[in-house]
């Protein structure tokens, strides 16, 4: 390794530490370092790698290392496609593996960022994983050329076979991978022109389907280790409260129970031979909690606090142009509406869990996580051991949706394991614990005021947000002079979540009102509520102006060709402006988030004034480059299920400082009978990399609400719809 490379990696480390979560990292070719690693791995009998991203076995199997986690969104396959595209390997021979965060630390973050959040699994690593594949190809070719004593330029690679063109000699990747791993990495690594892609852009089958059909896939909850014990936990149901006391006498005599213990100052856990024994014993323990001041908080008191913020003097301004307030005062017509959006739990299908094994000089954790590097840091902190003595092994998550970007359950598992040194302990939460200790979608109210001139043009718009900031709670260093820019997602003046309307007088501000409820990143994050607020209000404005909802929007979108393209695409396919089937009504919405442009056109009917049937949703996304269109279509449809489940059924309400919903009986989720026909349009316009897993979620709800207005003349502005007696059928 040269000094320059060391310098590069060091600057990367500094850059990433300063950038913190959520920001683009100043990454410089993080794959240049194999010779050293190979020497170490050979000693352990591990097949040598060509570089950190690619291992090729003698039988030509290609192992692609995946730094991000696949929690169902297809990232694993997409990332492998990108490496394989440049590697020119035989796709049929590709498998994948997850490196560990401990290896990443030991190898100076050679794989970059592991965090799989913000729909950036692909878009923020596409550059260096493609370079990883390309560099490996160059080294394999070089190794073959060296063996043949010919110039590398005379050799080509395709389908894992290297051919020396002049002589026609051939060899396979498996035969030269050993030699390739010993070569210096190339300094210049050119990438293919997108028009030459053969694998990127193709709907190849996912690499990870089969074990999910046979019961063989091991999720975190399924892990078994020799001698392992099982635990379950109850944390004080009032957020921020304490565990006062408990009577363990009865539980300690119950079958299989090994230990009843206090975890930190707020939780109690039972460790037993089986999980069922642990749970049964924990349920038998009378626990006294001290909720403290927070026990006085209720949904009503939180709503009061947010309501005050709607007219508060002080607010953070993120997007301002002209003089919105004056324009509205002077407008021919003024329209005003107040919306509110509730707390939501992720309710991943698999509850939180982690398995930990602690000894005096090592702590290992096995868990599903979207944030393995954070999980490693938390393991070190909770165990009291240095990071070098800790390791985290990633297991398949049964859903993530943002919840598994937090490591609270990892800390708990380590603390429990620390009380049982030498014995692996699996901590699995009950669904009830999962519902009571989420990282909730932030609660938000919005007052929108718009002014229309005499011709019905929008002359001024003020959006006042009042509610919770995620970053103030999870990463205060990311606030900008106290402002949480992420709160304005989709309303930004520019950037990956920009406002896609040009409005002459505009003011968008946020009265930050934080609660004791821990907020988190919930699939889509702040575009969920922001799209409802803006896109329903746009419909209100169009209605007040006596204009067609599409025409009204189009007038404001002249400088936004990509948004206009997706909106036009759904309008056309959805039949906007054409007669709908009898009793069917349509609604539209579009938005921008995670770099992508998205739109939806829905068609619904409403029976008895409250039974909503969604007949179809046409959803379009322009995510720049589409790596695997079939998987994108699944993300579009899946995100609609998640978003519409919330719109119709879900909210977490606070009583006495704690959440009232404890399971799917009070926090329902859409079933197949309610599933609309989703027609996804993937419109990759090229030239940029936008997210896929999250953005589309936000357009389904406002489109449905707008269609509901068209059908019934009723505007619903608080959610979920079940509170208004409206159901999805």
């Amino acid at each position: 390794m040269t000094d320059t490379m060391n310098l590069n990696r060091r600057s990367f480390l500094i850059g990433s530490a300063a950038a913190g979560g959520g920001l683009m990292l100043s990454l410089t070719l993080p794959f240049l370092a194999s010779a050293e690693a190979n020497a170490a791995e050979a000693a352990h009998g591990i097949p040598p790698e060509v570089n950190a991203w690619v291992v090729i076995r003698p039988d030509d199997t290609v192992v692609v290392r995946i730094a991000r986690i696949d929690m169902g969104q297809g990232t694993l396959t997409g990332l492998a496609q990108m490496v394989a595209e440049e590697l020119e390997c035989d796709w049929a021979k590709v498998t994948t593996e997850y490196p560990t965060p401990g290896e990443n630390v030991a190898r100076k973050r050679i794989w970059g960022d592991f965090a799989t959040v913000g729909s950036r699994g692909i878009r923020n690593s596409q550059d260096y994983v493609r370079k990883g594949g390309a560099a490996a190809r160059m080294m394999l070719i070089q190794a073959a050329a060296n063996e043949w004593k010919v110039p590398a330029a005379e050799c080509v690679a395709a389908n894992s076979v290297i051919t020396h063109r002049p002589s026609g000699r051939k060899t396979s990747y498996g035969k030269v991978s050993d030699a390739a791993g010993k070569l210096e990495a190339p300094k210049e690594v050119p990438l293919k022109d997108p028009k030459d892609w053969k694998l990127i852009g193709k709907s190849v089958k996912r690499l990870d389907t089969l074990p999910k059909l046979t019961g063989k896939q091991i999720y975190g909850a399924d892990l078994k280790l020799p001698g392992m014990l099982n635990a379950t936990i109850k944390d004080c149901p009032v957020f921020g409260g304490k565990l006062t006391s408990f009577d363990a006498a009865k539980a300690e005599g119950m079958p299989g129970v090994k230990k009843v213990l206090r975890v930190g100052d707020s939780a109690i856990a039972v460790v037993a031979d089986t999980w069922w024994h642990a749970k049964t014993a924990l349920d038998a323990i009378a626990v006294v909690w001290d909720g403290g001041e927070n026990a006085k908080v209720s949904s009503a008191s939180i709503a009061e606090m947010l309501k005050e913020g709607l007219s508060a003097e002080q607010a953070f301004v993120n997007n301002e142009k002209g003089n919105a307030k004056a324009a509205i005062v002077g407008a021919a017509k003024k329209v005003e509406a107040v919306y509110s959006y509730p707390f939501l739990n992720h309710a991943t299908m698999e509850p939180m869990n982690a398995t930990a094994l602690y000894t005096a000089d090592r702590c290992e954790v096995w868990c599903p996580t979207q944030n393995a590097e954070q999980a490693l840091a938390v393991t070190a902190e909770a165990s009291g051991l240095p990071i070098a003595k800790c390791e985290v092994y990633r297991l398949n998550p049964g859903g993530g949706f943002g919840r598994r970007s937090f490591s609270d359950y990892v800390a708990q598992a380590v603390r429990i394991a620390k009380e049982m040194p030498g014995i692996p302990v699996k901590l699995l939460w009950t669904r009830e614990e999962d519902m009571l200790h989420g990282r909730y979608h932030p609660i938000m109210q919005a007052k929108l005021t718009g002014g229309l001139d005499s011709a019905g043009n929008l002359s001024g718009l003020h959006i006042r947000l009042s509610g919770q900031s995620i970053f103030a709670s999870v990463h205060a260093a990311a606030l900008v002079n106290g402002m949480d820019v992420a709160t304005f997602q989709g309303y930004w003046p520019k950037g990956e979540a920009s406002l896609e309307y040009t409005i002459p007088n505009l003011l968008i501000d946020h009265a930050m009102r934080n609660t004791h409820v821990p907020p988190g990143f919930w699939r889509g994050v702040n575009i969920n509520q922001n799209a409802i607020f803006l896109e329903c209000f746009m419909d209100e404005l169009a209605h007040a102006a006596g204009q067609d909802a599409l025409a009204f929007r189009r007038k404001l979108m002249k400088g936004h060709p990509q948004s206009l393209a997706v909106l036009n695409a759904v309008a056309e396919k959805g039949g906007w402006g054409k007669p709908a089937p009898k009793g069917h009504y349509r609604g539209l919405a579009h938005f921008r988030g995670f770099g992508s442009y998205i739109a939806a056109c829905v068609e619904i009917s409403v029976k008895d004034g409250n039974k909503v049937k969604i007949h179809r949703i046409v959803g379009a996304t322009d995510c720049g480059h589409a790596v695997n269109p079939a998987q994108i279509e699944r993300q579009v449809a899946g995100s609609f299920v998640y978003g519409l489940s919330a719109l119709f059924e879900e909210e977490c309400t606070v009583k006495d400082g704690r959440m009232e919903q404890t399971n799917f009986d009070s926090y329902d989720s859409m079933r197949i009978a309610q599933m609309p026909k989703v027609e996804a349009i993937v419109l990759p316009s090229g030239g940029f990399w936008g997210g896929v897993g999250e953005p589309t979620i936000c357009v389904a709800a406002p489109a449905v609400l707008n269609a509901f207005f068209a059908a019934t003349g009723k505007r619903i502005r608080t959610f979920p719809l079940k509170n208004h007696g409206i159901e999805l059928v």
Binding site: M71, G72, Q73, G74, K205, R206, T209, L210, P211, K212, L213, T214, G215, K216, Q217, I218, Y219, A221, D222, K224, N230, P255, T274, W275, W276, A347, T348, M349, E350, P351, N396, P397, G398, G399, G400, F401, L428, T430, R431, A630, R634, A637, G638, S639, F640, V641, Y642, N663, F664, D665, S669, M670, R671, I672, A673, M675, K677, V678
Partner: protein
């Protein structure tokens, strides 16, 4: 002592007869393809067959399954040959995270035994499993494909 027949194999183990069948299958027998999602018969992740009927095993005590034929997700393929439902699931790439899919596949397998050519309405009535990833569109396609296979 409980005696269960799971996927054609007899098992005998010491367990409180009130233990939910789900946890006996997962912890005593060691078959972890059957999942825990809610524990209160809401989500269907724990679906298995008792004498060919789909049941939510989190809400059935071991005692109620004694002497009956239990089938889990691990027992529906014939060796390496997938069942027609599994094959349709593979062809249509149904799973996202996959956590709900054992239960989904077991519920669908029971449906197809009862109604080999289900209509969409039959599917809506019989399949009430939760899938938080939202795979329903592919689930429906794959059910119809399996019915034709």
């Amino acid at each position: 002592m409980a005696r269960l027949t799971i996927n054609g194999k007899p098992y005998e183990f010491d367990v409180d007869p009130t233990t939910p069948l789900l946890w006996a299958i997962r912890e005593q027998v060691g078959l972890t393809g059957t999942k825990y999602g809610c524990g209160i018969a809401q989500c269907g992740a724990c679906t298995v067959h008792i004498d060919g009927t789909a049941v939510r095993s989190c809400s059935v005590p071991v005692s109620a399954a004694e002497g009956k034929k239990i089938t889990t997700i691990e027992g529906i393929a014939a060796g390496d040959v997938l069942s027609k439902v599994q094959q349709a699931w593979l062809d249509h790439e149904v799973p996202q995270c996959g956590y709900c899919q054992s239960g989904m596949i077991m519920a669908v397998t029971a449906l197809l035994q009862e109604k080999p050519k289900p209509t969409d309405a039959d599917i809506d009535d019989a399949i009430t499993n939760i899938c938080r990833c939202g795979t329903f569109q592919q689930v429906r396609e794959a059910i119809h494909a399996a019915a034709k296979a």
